[in-house]
């Protein structure tokens, strides 16, 4: 014993969950829900819609009709898998890259376009009314999720807060402070870190000295699990476990979704500046959509005809949303004052009139 016989006071382990191999074969028996062909194809459809939507959003940005946009390319399984395990009455606290989760929860495509097109009305969306909007300051939504979960606990509501952020966010105190508090109070909250290997140009090995992000939960006193984030079955299964544990009062969980960002960080980024085309090319072999498709086709749960029909449906849905987005009436400038306070203080009402050209400045 190199430690001179000192007793071990605690031991921890971190597990990794995966079912579908990159070629669509299975590594171990699938969870029960995977025998539901409707559910699996729904997950597939959601990922395909997201990929089509992303492609269109980038095209809109390139032609000056959308602002900076963050694509989910390669990460579709994470947000779809997580959201599919939530109930409507749970609360989602997403980062800016979790379009897939919002769409699953009922946010309209044109609302997401409105947001990235620079219009706050996109945040007054058709998803569950208590879901948070995209969070741009990295990791700052984590304390909110602890506050939301505390409210659930105080009011004895069987609801769960689900907080999503990237690997870069796990370097911030915000995330640790929130996890620590959630651990103290055994709050019904699930933290999901999408480890897509990059925070803009900074690779994971410069983000942390940890072997896994999942182990960060250990310091907060609860289970952290690593999940193959390109395997939507694993994501959904891990999310179900974590969310039901949280709902049953067994406290928070942390999910590290290990995946890869195949696209640029945003439309303002050029990822070739910091990583090679070969690296990205190699990762395309693991991507989540082809993986699930191979499995579904192998199981005769999916056909070529269905694939063609889905492609047409996605195209139609996205195009119709873009039309509605582009046809949205612009806001009057003075409306920027409309939701500043519950009741606009008189001193700012004068500024509002000035902006409205009602000359009173």
């Amino acid at each position: 014993m190199a430690d001179g016989g000192l007793p071990v006071v605690a031991r921890f382990d971190v597990r990794h969950r995966n079912y579908l191999a990159p070629d669509g074969s299975i590594n171990r028996p699938l969870p029960a829900f995977a025998s539901d062909a409707d559910l699996l194809t729904a997950l597939y459809r959601a990922m395909m819609l997201l990929r089509n939507f992303d492609r269109k959003a980038v095209a809109l940005q390139r032609t000056g009709r959308l602002g900076t946009y963050a694509v989910s390319l390669g990460q579709e399984a994470v947000s779809v898998g997580i959201a599919s395990a939530m109930r409507a009455e749970d609360v989602l606290l997403p980062s800016y890259r979790d379009n897939g989760a919002l769409i699953w929860r009922g946010v309209k495509l044109e609302e997401i376009l409105l947001f990235w097109g620079g219009d706050e009305r996109g945040n007054h969306f058709s998803g569950p009314i208590e879901d948070f909007p995209f969070c741009v300051p990295v990791g700052s939504q984590a304390p909110h999720s602890a506050g939301v979960a505390y409210a659930f606990k105080l009011r004895k509501q069987p609801r769960v807060a689900v907080c999503m952020f990237g690997d870069g966010a796990t370097s911030k105190g915000d995330v640790y402070e929130a996890m620590n508090f959630a651990g103290v109070h055994k709050l019904p909250v699930v933290f999901v870190a999408t480890n897509n290997q990059w925070a803009i140009s900074v690779p994971l090995r410069l983000q942390t000295g940890c072997e896994t992000l999942a182990q960060k939960a250990i310091a907060a006193g609860f289970i952290g699990e690593q999940v193959d984030g390109s395997d939507v079955v694993a994501m959904r299964a891990a999310a179900e476990d974590a969310i039901s544990a949280a709902r049953d009062g067994r406290g928070p969980r942390f999910i590290e979704a290990v995946t890869y960002r195949l696209g640029d960080h945003t439309t303002s980024d050029d990822a070739l500046r910091y990583r090679s085309a070969e690296e990205v090319q190699a990762r395309w072999k693991e991507e989540p959509i082809a993986r699930l498709r191979s499995y579904l086709v192998g199981q005769k749960m999916w056909s070529k005809a269905e694939e063609e029909q889905l492609a047409a449906e996605c195209h139609e849905r996205v195009e119709a949303a873009v039309e509605r987005y582009l046809a949205t009436e612009p806001r009057r400038p003075e409306s920027m004052f409309d939701h500043l306070y519950a009741d606009l203080p008189g001193v700012y009402a004068a500024q509002r009139r000035e902006l409205a050209g009602e000359g009173d400045a």
């Binding site: 208590e130 300051p137 909110h144 602890a146 506050g147 402070e177 939701h339 700012y348």
Partner: protein, 326 residues
């Protein structure tokens, strides 16, 4: 009516708010059994339980961020930060979330939270315990910034802050936590926010201040009265949004204005008031607007801090000088 200190009035308002509304939650470091480092929350945990009077881990960003999450769920969290010098980690949450989530979501999600913290110098505290950076907060759109200057106003304004549907930073003047005494009736009545209080009527010069500095400002008004100068004293009370009408109305009457704050001069809130008067009250001015403020230094530690803060003499001198213009 019982006579009490300002900090006791804060405690009374918290208790009243918690009694009246089960959604009110008090949270912060040591607010539970210890009753807060200044005893503002004393007795609350025994009365309302540890779920509603919550000792948080030592993490200020968390406290402010928790408040945002709780408020989004319709709770009315009242967070305590032990000293203003430790409020800075909360700025991210105040600027990026609390103050704008209503606006960002077009009213879908709101943030009825209060963040309380002791404010200002003059208590011979360690470094970082004597901050008066209220101007930084008053710059944030969507926020309210409130500073009471008496037990009565601490009680009424804190009740108003807790009931307000938007986020409020409530700055409690540490120096007069115990020095200010007054009668407070626990009648559950709030005082209006966004409204200045005229503490004393006068014709010759307007003195404007807030928080603990009103002690020196009122003393200066007494000294000026002995010289035959009638000073009007305004307690601004809410700095964001502030009561421009009362300021302009008073200056229209007196023609002279001295603004008093202990915060450093450059970019201080006095500059905002002076600019307002220059824009909208210039024609009534008989003398330049004067500022009596802290110097542009770091607030010194105990041995020098009183030299940084405006004294009665400095206020009287500035008011006298204003009155020399006719």
């Amino acid at each position: 009516m019982p006579e009490m200190t300002l900090v006791e009035a804060v405690n009374l308002a918290l208790a009243r708010a918690m009694e009246d509304d089960p959604d009110v939650v008090v949270l912060g470091e040591d607010v539970g059994i210890n009753g807060g480092v200044f005893r503002a929350t004393v007795g609350l945990q025994a009365r309302f339980g540890s779920e509603r009077v919550l000792d948080t881990p030592l993490a200020e960003l968390l406290i402010s961020g928790l408040c945002v999450g709780m408020a989004a769920q319709g709770l009315k969290p009242v967070g305590e930060i032990q000293f203003m010098g430790f409020l800075y980690p909360c700025i991210d949450q105040l600027v990026n979330h609390a103050s704008r989530i209503r606006n960002r979501t077009r009213g879908r999600i709101t943030c009825p939270m209060v963040l309380r913290t002791p404010h200002g110098a003059g208590i011979r505290a360690p470094e970082h315990h004597s901050e008066s950076t209220e101007a930084m907060l008053a710059h944030i759109p969507g926020l309210r910034v409130v500073i009471p200057s008496s037990p009565e106003r601490a009680y009424g304004l804190l009740l108003a802050a807790i009931r307000d549907p938007d986020p409020v930073v409530f700055l409690e003047p540490t120096r007069i936590y115990r020095a200010a005494k007054g009668e407070v009736e626990d009648n559950g009545e709030a005082l209006p926010l966004d409204v200045a209080f005229v503490l004393r009527q006068g014709r010759d010069v307007t003195l404007i201040s807030w928080g603990a500095m009103l002690k020196e400002t009122m003393a200066a008004a007494d000294a000026l009265a002995a010289e035959g100068v009638a000073a009007e004293v305004i307690d601004l009370a809410t700095l964001k949004p502030y009561d421009e009408a009362t300021v302009l109305g008073s200056v229209a009457k007196t023609g002279r204005c001295v603004i008093v704050h202990e915060a450093t001069r450059t970019g201080g809130f006095g500059a905002e008031i002076a600019a307002l008067i220059a824009e909208r009250g210039l024609t009534s001015l008989l003398a330049p607007v004067a500022r009596v403020t802290g110097y542009d230094t770091v607030i010194p530690m105990a041995r020098l801090e009183q030299h940084m803060m405006p004294s009665v003499d400095r206020i009287v001198t500035a008011a006298r000088r204003a009155c020399q213009f006719s």
